[in-house]
Amino acid sequence: MSSYKKANPKAMLSILLICLLAVTSIMLSLIIGAVSISFNDVINSLFLEQESQAISQIIWQLRLPRTLMAFIAGAGLALSGLVLQTVTRNPLADPYLFGVSSGASFAVVLTMVMFNVDLYASTYLLSFTGLSVAAFIGSLVVIAILIFITRYQANLHTLVLAGVALSFMFSAFTSFLLYFSDPQAISAIMFWTLGSFTRTQLDGVLISAVIFTVMYLFIQSRHRQLNAMIMGDETALTVGVNPNRLRMLMLTLSALMTAVLVANCGGIGFVGLIIPHIVRYFHSQGSAWLYMIVALVGGIFMLWVDIISRLLIENQELPIGIITAAIGSLFFLTLLVRNNRHHSAFLR
């Protein structure tokens, strides 16, 4: 009995440490940038009186929305990746691998081209909501096709391969649209597809935060059922879980989360793949805290990617997607090499 009582404080300690790290990262993200702002100024702007109007504006209109958005995007993508990996029992599952992001991206680009949506327009909330809805429809179309394809053959490999095929198909559609667009629109859309937090506003952060909270609570409430899914549909069924229904629910939730994030900050890949793998190195899969830790670590990771994107080239910002794809593909290759060396490592 006693050894299990000890396990909890350990989890609490790691959560406490991760929370501390998260708060520190958020502070640094508010401080670091083209204009360096002191810690005192950040605190004053956020919680007290700030004398300089300019600094207050930078904090409230630029740095804070961007920082919060980066954190939520990282948390949301990591959580989506984890839940997709769990319900499909595939260690390589990720919103991007499943075509969910490509479907969302295509729908967003289609909406932009058709309605000439200006990414930097003053009607931000309207365009953001419109693009989110479009992205959600796009990702739902992908999910619907996936369900249709796997309907008569409930095979997990089919699901993954169909996802990869759909991902390529919708990327091709997106390229096709871009090919016929005018050059100015193309450059704006290209920058968006590579992922960025620069145009984030507080409204978008709020909507993303609500969706994230809903998804997180749902996953947390079903974490024991999700554990059963790891041991196979047959086991899940024999402990009272409807595996197909739970899988579809989780696919839909992660599609919704991915869609809102794609509409908000474009295409950011690999986070959903990397973070759950990293967390599994120091935290067991079966733990009730796993989902919270993955979300927090995902958020911290994205904050630092965003900070690096501001620092790497002076007076210029690198698109987020480039950095995550570079880190992600290296990580992916490392996993594969490790897997070849000793087979089970990949599937720990």
């Binding site: 009995m1 050894s3 299990y4 990996q85 769990t86 029992r89 595939n90 260690p91 947390q220 409430s221 974490h223 024991r224 059922q225 554990n227 059963a228 790891i230 041991m231 196979g232 047959e234 086991t235 069924l237 024999t238 402990v239 009272g240 879980v241 409807n242 599994r280 067991s284 899969q285 079966g286 009730a288 089970s344 599937l347 720990r348």
Partner: protein
């Protein structure tokens, strides 16, 4: 319940009436009828492809039969909701995927999923239930080890611990002793018998089935060809007709049950 009137055996825990299952127009099971009463240990035997796993899967509702009725505790099986069913029937399946390597403790904890409510994590009484079950199967020391890293016998013991916490009326086991050394086969069987549950288990090993079971069901090409006490089912004729080997059935020196001595030199002619 109106469905109860269709049940023919009043005290049967599980009852199958004319159960058939076909896959892509190919009949796998046809017209299977039998009943299992409380606290019986029933063995299911038959050659490869006889339909043992398919029958068990119909009984724990992973597959739906194409025809016929199954009653559990006087209720139509199809009418029972997932949670209630899982509180009543526990299953030890043959092969499990576990790509993310849950530890033994977490696997046992799955047995309490049918009792979990929204948002609930393990209560302290559920914690001690799991610990007790791990102790009962002798796996407490390895409870934090990954399930994948355990040996075949240890894996089975963990799955039985999961069944213990699930507190079912019926335990279904699909070849619980396959790939195990004889020592572990006996260990797993003694453990199962000590649970005092109604058990339906499929077997490859006829002698083990004969020694353990109160009653045996013999399947051949999807049909139930024998149903009775081991001595009635394990006979020279049945072994020859349904397993295609020559054998001599004798009585086991230490017990009442029949024992098969194979003629290793020739197949049935």
């Amino acid at each position: 319940m109106t469905t109860a009137f269709n049940s023919q055996h009043d005290n049967a825990l599980l009852e199958c009436n004319n159960l058939s299952f076909a896959y892509q127009n190919q009949s796998i099971l046809s017209n299977i009828s039998f009943a299992i009463s409380n606290k019986q240990f029933v063995g299911l035997i038959g050659g490869n492809g006889a339909g043992k796993s398919t029958l068990l899967r119909c009984l724990y509702r992973y597959l739906s039969p194409t025809a016929g009725d199954i009653y559990f505790d006087q209720q139509l099986l199809g009418a029972i909701d997932n949670r209630t069913l899982a509180q009543n029937i526990a299953v030890v399946v043959q092969e499990l995927p576990n790509d993310f390597n849950l530890c033994a403790f977490d696997v046992v904890a799955l047995g309490l999923v049918p009792y979990s409510t929204f948002f609930s994590s393990l209560s302290s009484s559920q914690h001690s239930q799991i610990i007790d079950a791990l102790h009962a199967v002798g796996m407490f020391e390895k409870s934090r080890q990954g399930y994948e890293t355990l040996s075949g016998g240890e894996k089975q013991r963990v799955l039985i611990a999961k069944a213990i916490v699930q507190q079912p009326k019926l335990l279904i086991m699909d070849e619980p002793t396959s790939h195990l050394d004889i020592k572990y086969q006996l260990e797993i069987m003694q453990l199962t018998k000590s649970l005092d549950m109604t058990v339906l288990a499929s077997f490859h090993d006829l002698n083990l089935a004969s020694a353990m079971s109160d009653r045996l069901l013999l399947l051949h090409s999807g049909e139930l060809v024998a149903n009775g006490e081991p001595a009635e089912v394990i006979t020279n004729d049945n072994i020859k007709a349904y397993f295609d080997v020559e054998a001599n059935v004798v009585s086991h020196p230490t017990g009442e049950h029949p024992m098969v001595i194979y003629d290793y030199q020739r197949l049935a002619t």
